[in-house]
């Protein structure tokens, strides 16, 4: 395992595009967090996002893991290009000739995916912890480290998403096609959901199995959980209840998708003549 990871790491370390994109990602990541702590002055009103309670423990775990997740698109580009460039430079072929098996090749890429997801999760954890320690109204140890399942869910969300990118990269061999296909899938899932919601409500259970939707189901939107919104909502509708927990069913579905994507990548590569 170490060998395969080191092989992938060696490739990434020497890839300028991957390095720059990753750097942008991690800078943006930190910048967004900092941005929310800046004080805006609208006329006589001081507004600071951080003061709205979003950085209170344990809510911050939920809030941050939901809102920084869209940045994963940057890393998706890195993942897709690190796969497709192996095709375009024909280095995949050379790797195999040099004695890497097709299984090892996919595994080394998967370890790369895990590493990106892990680094990103770690950063999320650290940034949230720091912001929380600065702005949170509560700082008891037990409160700080409660609700950490959102961090785990974030990690899984990234692993699932990156595995999908890996698969598309293997399948389509060109970055642009793979990213375009990702976009098409997003639109396709939207259409399916619209259709089901308006035409076939009995099929609603299908929605949670759609790959992109299942990943987004891992972390439910945190806005309505925010104090102000919640109190307004409960005034309007006294039966306002919604669970924000990470659902086990969602976890299982995403795990299954990740496995399917990685396994099919391997099968696909095995069948192919290069």
């Amino acid at each position: 395992m170490k060998r395969l990871f080191l092989i992938e790491f060696h490739k990434l370390k020497n890839n300028k595009a991957a390095k720059i994109l990753s750097l942008i990602y991690f800078i943006l990541f930190s910048a967004i967090a900092l941005f929310s702590s800046i004080k805006f002055t609208f006329g006589s009103v001081d507004f600071r996002l951080a003061d709205q309670g979003i950085f209170n423990f344990p809510y911050i775990w939920h809030f941050n893991s939901y809102f920084v997740a869209f940045l994963k698109l940057f890393l998706a580009v890195v993942i897709v290009s690190m796969v497709s460039s192996e095709y375009t430079n024909r280095t995949l072929k050379q790797n195999l000739i040099d004695g890497l098996s097709k299984k090892e090749f996919i595994l080394s890429k998967f370890y790369g995916v895990l590493a990106f997801a892990l680094a990103s999760t770690l950063l999320l954890f650290i940034v949230s912890l720091v912001l929380g320690l600065i702005f949170s109204d509560y700082d008891e140890f037990s409160i700080i480290f409660s609700d950490l399942e959102y961090i785990g869910a974030y990690f899984l969300k990234l692993v699932g998403f990156f595995s999908m990118c890996l698969f598309f990269g293997i399948l389509l061999r060109r970055s642009a096609f793979a990213l375009g296909f990702l976009f098409l899938l997003w639109i396709f899932e939207g259409i399916v959901q619209l259709f089901i919601n308006f035409q076939a409500e009995s099929l609603e259970f299908i929605i949670q199995f759609l790959p992109l939707q299942s990943m987004s189901n891992l972390i439910i939107e945190p806005m309505t959980r925010l104090g102000i919104v919640k109190s307004t909502a409960s005034q309007l509708n006294s039966e306002f209840t919604k669970t924000y927990d990470v659902e086990w069913s969602a976890v299982l579905i995403v795990l299954a998708w990740s496995f399917i994507f990685i396994y099919s990548s391997w099968k696909l590569l095995k069948k192919r003549d290069l």
């Binding site: 890839n15 430079n89 040099d98 004695g99 069948k271």
Partner: protein, 299 residues
Amino acid sequence: MNTILKLNQLTKKFGSLTAVDALTFNIEKGHVYGILGPNGSGKSTTLGMILNVVNPSSGNFEWFQGNLSTHEALKKVGAIIESPNFYPSMSAEDNLKLVCQIKEVDYSRIDMVLDIVDLKDRKKDHFKSYSLGMKQRLAIASALLNNPEILILDEPTNGLDPQGIHQIREIIKRIASEGMTILLASHLLDEVEKVCSHVVVIRKGNMLYSGPVDELNATHGFLELKSEQTEELHTFLNSHEAIDHFEEVDHEVIKAILAHPYEASEINKECFEKGIFLTHLVKRKETLEEQFLKLTKNQ
């Protein structure tokens, strides 16, 4: 005998096209093999199959008496296929380090192999800044990293300028002289003739011949003779037991095919004794090109 590679009825079909048809031959340690065939004869597909990048349709092959899985076996093989494939933005050194990690060999050989192909001065430069000749030399260096049991080269001089071709040939010759087993696929016959001891001839996916270069066709060579005394020479050759038949090729030069091995000096002596004075006498083997053309035409 130490068999390195064994092909058994190896076949590859692309749709209705049979690119490689039931190829069977062995590669023994210590020989230099040439795979000969025109463009599109299935050479690269064959190499692709034994190198784990093309899936055979049927048949099989085994490396090192089948004791290792293909990808493990390939760690003991050095191979370059068609064009040199490396990571463009990595330096030569970093590219070789990656190959070392894949093949699980020590970094210590990097400088040594770069020295063999004369690229040590440029090792820090990006691969993409290399000329084609340098890229091809780097590919050879990479193939030598693990001190391989067998070196497989597919069209190593393709697209190179004369100087590049010469350099690559010199490198191959040097490696061959050190006793390494080499498998060289090429459509350039003089290339194969210069370095190979054994050949496998393929046409349209079928194997036409496999064996030592010398036995490619079972002739013993021929003599080219010329004399002012044409009549006497004809009579002499007609009656000579070592001459199978003869024909006049051009400008009264006679091409006499030998029936069994016979020295030119003997012929010269006998002619002299019969009072025939030769103005021209050469003993030659048919070139690989002539033999190859004959062989592929016969089919």
